[in-house]
Symmetry: C2
């Protein structure tokens, strides 16, 4: 616990990144911010003194022409890693993007002893080889890799799973609603008790409404295809000890009707998708009615059967008095069934999306990395 200088580079200044920089500006004893990268430009603090970029004021540092910082075009991950590896102390990369290019370059950072904190799922849910490269180079170069916000944003999901595994508990099953969007859609479409008006919502209406409220991605197909959930499940399964090759190596039930699977990408395809979605309301209503007649509700869940080595993403029915059915708003819920906890799972529940809570997960990871490095 000797005191070493610690330097941080932040890539990405979008929804999560801007919240993160605002939180960083209020952190007591914050490490020195020496790099801020956005898609078009990179701002760095010059050697050898490396003055800190003010986290609350990075925008004016970018725009001012007399800034004491260096403005460059967009840097490659290699350039960023090379810069961070030269600071006179320990370096941490905070990647607040969802960019696969920088994700696939993580081993370049960790092999130089640069620690990584990130909500970017790509690095941990792509090939198993990338996962192994990241963690093995990190271990042999004293770099730390924390990525709590890749599942459930700021909710303590990965830290809880790692605690269970590290203390020697046997995790038997992980099950939950891992998408705020799909949580919202099914909490509306298949509520445990009828709405006060008694009116039933059609599936396509619920999707349209969520899209208008900004609860879906600009293209709702990016939520409905289940890939985001599959990526989260891949990460959880790997921490639980399963060697999942990629998110494509287990069944994912897509909510995009087969007839609409081949519409073009982009806004024209999105428009056509939304226009034709009502044609499939009958099929969704059937699923909802089947559940209801059994006293159940429909939810879109991910589950991992650890001893059976099975990962699954799709629709499932749950009793109306279950925690899954009681979910509200766009909350996530994650249940860990383990040997020590027995029949009733350890449950973590709450908002699992949004800039502020995602940035909070990144920030609490950063604090833990700072505690371990200093």
């Amino acid at each position: 616990m000797s005191s070493k200088a610690i330097y941080v580079g932040v890539v990405g200044v979008g929804g999560v990144g801007s919240h993160f920089l605002s939180q960083l500006s209020k952190l007591p004893n914050a490490p020195s911010l020496v790099l801020v990268a956005r898609s078009s430009q990179t701002l760095t603090s010059p050697a050898p003194s490396y003055p800190a970029i003010p986290p609350a004021d990075w925008q004016s540092a970018f725009s001012s022409s007399t800034s004491s910082f260096t403005k460059s075009d967009a840097w490659s991950p290699e350039q960023i890693a090379s810069y961070l590896s030269q600071v006179p102390g320990r370096a941490i990369l905070v990647d607040n993007t969802s960019d696969p290019t920088i994700a696939s370059a993580y081993p370049i950072f960790t092999s130089k002893g640069i620690s990584i904190v990130t909500p970017n799922k790509k690095a941990f849910s792509s090939s198993l080889k990338l996962w192994e490269d990241i963690f093995s180079t990190a271990a042999s170069n004293n770099a730390l890799v924390y990525h709590e916000s890749t599942v459930g944003a700021g909710l303590p999901v990965l830290s809880t799973l790692r605690d269970l595994v590290n203390t020697g508990d046997t995790v038997t099953r992980i099950e939950g609603v891992f998408s705020g969007t799909l949580s919202f859609l099914f909490n509306q479409f298949s509520p445990p008790s009828p709405s006060t008006s008694g009116e039933k919502k059609k599936w396509s209406e619920v999707v349209s409404q969520a899209k208008e409220l900004g609860y879906t991605e600009p293209d709702p197909r990016d939520d409905l295809n289940g890939m985001d959930v599959a990526r989260k499940l891949t990460i959880l399964a790997r921490i639980a000890g399963l060697e999942v090759e990629s998110p494509d190596s287990f069944p994912i039930e897509s909510l995009i009707p087969a007839e609409l699977a081949n519409l073009e990408a982009g806004s024209k395809g999105t428009e056509e998708f939304m226009r034709r979605l009502p044609d499939f309301d009958g099929k969704m209503e059937e699923l909802q009615k089947d559940a209801e007649s059994a006293g159940q509700v429909v939810r879109y869940v991910g589950s991992i059967d650890v001893p059976g080595k099975k990962v699954k993403v799709g629709l499932q029915n749950f009793d109306k008095d279950s925690a899954m059915a009681g979910l509200k708003g766009s909350d996530n819920i994650i249940s860990f069934y383990t040997e020590r906890y027995g029949e009733l799972p350890l449950i973590v529940q709450g908002g699992g999306a949004g800039g502020a809570v995602t940035a909070m997960g990144v920030m609490s990871d950063l604090i833990k990395v700072l505690e371990r490095l200093s």
Copy 2:
């Protein structure tokens, strides 16, 4: 992250302690166990080589007459601190007791740079001065103090609250069922839907049954007086930033009827208490019926209004479709309402008592301390 030798002393080998030692025996790269103390005896590893006591085998080390370890009578906290301060590396005290004597001696350990990991609530829920002494001596002597298991056993409760506070979120309210015993009693006594037999349980019957199942303390009054919950609330409130003087400085609703409050301590008093408890079934039934007629259930909860600086422990009614009402078995549930999370709280739920999960909380704290010290 240089590699320093780390030595651990364990006090207490009861329900939690024995589970902890068993988990320690399976921990990869475990630190050296050099002291095991039980109420009557202390086993230590001799200087200068400090051979490790095998954690799985401490009992035979105690009983063998040819052991390579030193057996002594029970040591005072001062003796234990003095021994641990002399090891050639960093030392950690793991206190698996609920003993107030060692708890009040924690500042002696922390002032010698000895880190502490413990499920012992006493140190953190007694006078505010003791709390401040522990953390200020720890900070100035590079000692770490982790006590996750003092609230909710192995559930990630304190770590979550510290993450919220440390990242700058504003916690507005904390509310929950913090006692496995009281959870069990009220889940039985005031279920959200009537039992299949339609039969209603009397309060005194539920208490008797819980006592027989070992779900209460040997003297159920130790659960029903609310003190255990009040201690947990004191800890949470202090982490949330409130200067709570002691668990006596806020209202605690005791479930011991006033007429039985002055029965003697010990088994004779317990017997008389259990015998006379049915006289008060009518009053409890009234509470339950009042709740039911409003579509609610009764729960024994603790709550903290952070901006209002109010801590409260007692009975409260909740809607039948709330997470509080849906609680099962002897689960704990803790809801954190914060500015960032908005209307819907971050919820942690699951078993909050028992040797194995309490020891797991201690072990995950130990792992974190090891990560930070090494």
